[in-house]
Amino acid sequence: MPDLTFDDVCITYRTAGRNDEGEIAAVKNVSLVLPAGGTLGIAGESGSGKSTLAMSVLRLLPANARLGGRVLIGDTDIADLRFGELRALRWAEASIVFQGAMHSLNPVRTVGQQIVEALELHVSDAWRTDKTRKARALELLYAVDLAPAKAEAYPHELSGGQKQRVMIAMALACEPDIIIADEPTTALDVIVQMQILDMISALVAQRGISMLMISHDLSVLATACERIAIMRDGELVEVGDAYEVCTSPQHPYTRQLSEAFPTIGDPASRLNPVTRRTDAVTDKTRELSDDVVLEARGVTVTYHGRGKPLAAVKDVNLSLRRGEILALVGQSGSGKTTLARTIVGLQRVDEGSVIRFRGKDIPHRGRALRDFRSEVQMVLQDPSAALNPKISVYESVAEGLRVQRFQGDEQERVAQSLADAELLPPERFFRAIPQELSGGQRQRAVIAGALAVGPQLLVADEPVASLDASVRGEILALLLSLRDRLDLSALVITHDLGLAWNIADTVAVMYEGAIVEYGPTEQVLLDPQHPYTRRLLAAAPSIERRLA
């Protein structure tokens, strides 16, 4: 079993094109060792160079990348290998679980064929004939807890978690010594994430494989790895024992990363997400008014597609008071996004459902609908997709005002909204187009666009799911301060219980279209009654859980 050694690795990308930027250093002087049989996690935010570093192990970098320093597997320098030698090394000695299993599988071949493909390219004594290869594929599927019948399935017939399992089976196919897992659980929900992580850890321990895991989520790495390295802007910030790094971080950046995800039950993080601001501590004892803004009774939504009708939301009752933040928690497919779309009137409800906004049924067409839209606004999950890339921030924020035929000083209102969303000074952002902004700024611009029309209720669908950890706290703090300053109500949809703990007054847990538990945050999260809530809580990766 060889060690994997990064010796003073520098990787630069040469870029050409209109905005000729010359050379970009993606990885700067990184030295790391992954001993045989060990597990190492690399954490960092987007753009920190962690994926670039991992891809360099198999020389999978694009043609415009230049590698400095040495990457060694055992005593072999990757850079010295001829193409044939490299092919032999790829997959047989080191394999990769790629990021985003959804797109890494060939949609027109069965997963069995795809696993066998790797075996055919690296024939060894154990699988010399077609029959033994097929047997090996089934054995691999068994190892990742998939039924043998799944070998005949096409990728679109599998769920996200199952696809990820297939990717892992493929990575294990040729009995590699090293596995590189690039964000193996991103885009999976908490329960599946826990299953996958447990499975990877068990397989790695069982077979004595060394693993390099990359993630932006420190708690995921803490669950699966012995040692953790933190990267930032291509540089290695800190490296050490997983427990040490997570509990007593030396570098301020590591501290920021480890604090970004709160521990449920920790009073310090209750209604107090981690930010760099000092005025964020809100009055935790504030009383909620009895003024009910939104009321839903017996809401049912059925999709009539091909095949039998599918009830996405079943008999949901909710009420939201003025100045209340309600977190709707559930895993993917639980119907929470459908419910949100229903509440903003984008989705028709079935007969018998009642949704009342300020005591009136929500309208479905014409002027009344437009007026309703100025009262209820939605913030979508991915801010880079929610802004038209060709339109400046000013235009995007003013769009709602123009649609609503706003009478008054448009520019003043836009500036006010940007300031409310804490994009300061607002004038600086007027002419910026979305690609010039960071992820957090984009989400603020989306929020400003929603605020411009002066809503009473904000529906936010996974508002921080696609943002980096350090930005997460800032956006959550913004939502809290909006509630305090503008007395807004908010319905926040999330799969992340920590988020609910951070900002929500009440929590509703949704499972298969129905609300299974609903009550004040402390009550639901600290004293869960329903078994599903307990499963969700147990699955949430946290740093303390494993190391306690």
């Binding site: 094109g17 999950q381 997709a385 995007s396 609503q404 002419r431």
Partner: protein, 305 residues
């Protein structure tokens, strides 16, 4: 954002215009770097200038057969007759620059008709789902499978003969492909979150189409335009060649047809066929070069291919 621009850019409208000017400037700069695109553009400008200056360069009496009795017939290209003469003693170069007027006019006008119909129907088919979209798609399919040449022949024999009939015939038969491309792009833009966001803000169909969909499909339409101009010029030549154009007007297609009438190919009058033929090829090529250059600028993923 420096202090100097802050005062100038107060109103949103002027800001939008400034941005568009800037974008257009960037586009021109980039286009000027594309050698093939510039070659096509320069060639086209020369042809257009020649066509516009036709009455000055070659007064219309030069086409009047009654005044050309002393001219030799079927004179091969020489110093005295640069591109040779035709069966009635007319100078071929005179016929070519007069013919360029009709050919280019038909090319541009027919393309405009085709693009306008194609864009409107394409966006509508992509934006309106369900019944309306389905019906529009069937209409597009209908025009797509219609043998366009035959429809054009029927149209130009039913309507009065003339340049505009040919324009309508070509325009009506060539928009379906554009509509399909535009619909595909519309569908992809339609699924973006910013359309959903606009809807939540209370936007209606008109706002979404004009503000988000049209700007997103326009680059595609522009690139498509240059390619369609080429095929429209060919279509015009075809129709004139088949004798469906206005016989009193010169066009490159009618020159070709005349050459066929006198069996130029078998009689050895090669210049009679090659000159209009090559002219058509070059103009279409120029449009294609421009189209490709525009396409790579507006769609950066095509670069380096």
């Amino acid at each position: 954002m420096s202090g100097t621009t802050a005062t100038a850019a107060r109103s949103p409208r002027s800001m939008a215009w400034a941005r568009r000017r800037h974008a257009f400037g960037g586009f021109c700069r980039e286009f000027s770097h594309s050698r093939a695109g510039m070659a096509g553009l320069i060639f086209l400008v020369v042809v257009i200038l020649l066509a516009l200056l036709a009455p000055v360069l070659a007064p219309s009496w030069m086409l009047d057969v009654t005044k050309l009795l002393e001219q030799p017939r079927f004179a091969p290209p020489s110093f005295a007759h640069p591109l040779g003469t035709d069966d009635q003693g007319r100078e071929l170069w005179v016929r070519m620059i007069w013919g360029a007027r009709v050919s280019l006019l038909v090319g541009f006008a027919a393309t405009a008709v085709s693009m306008i119909i194609g864009t409107i129907v394409g966006i509508a088919a992509g934006h309106f789902t369900g019944w309306t979209g389905g019906l529009l798609m069937r209409i597009i399919d209908f025009f797509l499978v219609l043998p366009s040449l035959i429809l054009a022949i029927v149209l130009s024999s039913v309507l009065s003969r003339g340049v505009w009939t040919i324009v309508i015939a070509i325009g009506l038969t060539s928009w379906a492909g554009t509509a399909r491309v535009v619909r595909a792009q519309t569908l992809s833009v339609e699924s973006r979150d910013y359309i959903e966001r606009a809807r939540v803000l209370g936007a209606g169909h008109w706002h979404i189409i004009v503000k988000h969909l049209l700007p997103a499909v326009l680059p595609l339409v522009l690139a498509n335009t240059t390619l369609t101009v080429g095929s429209a010029i060919i279509a015009e030549s075809t129709l004139s060649f088949l004798g469906l154009g206005d016989t009193t007007l010169q066009s490159w297609g009618s020159v070709l047809k005349n050459s066929m009438d006198v069996s130029a190919a078998t009689a050895g009058y090669w210049w009679y066929i090659l000159v209009p033929g090559i002219a058509i090829v070059l103009v279409v090529l120029a449009f294609t070069l421009i189209g490709r250059a525009v396409e790579t600028i507006v769609n950066p993923t095509l670069r380096s291919r």
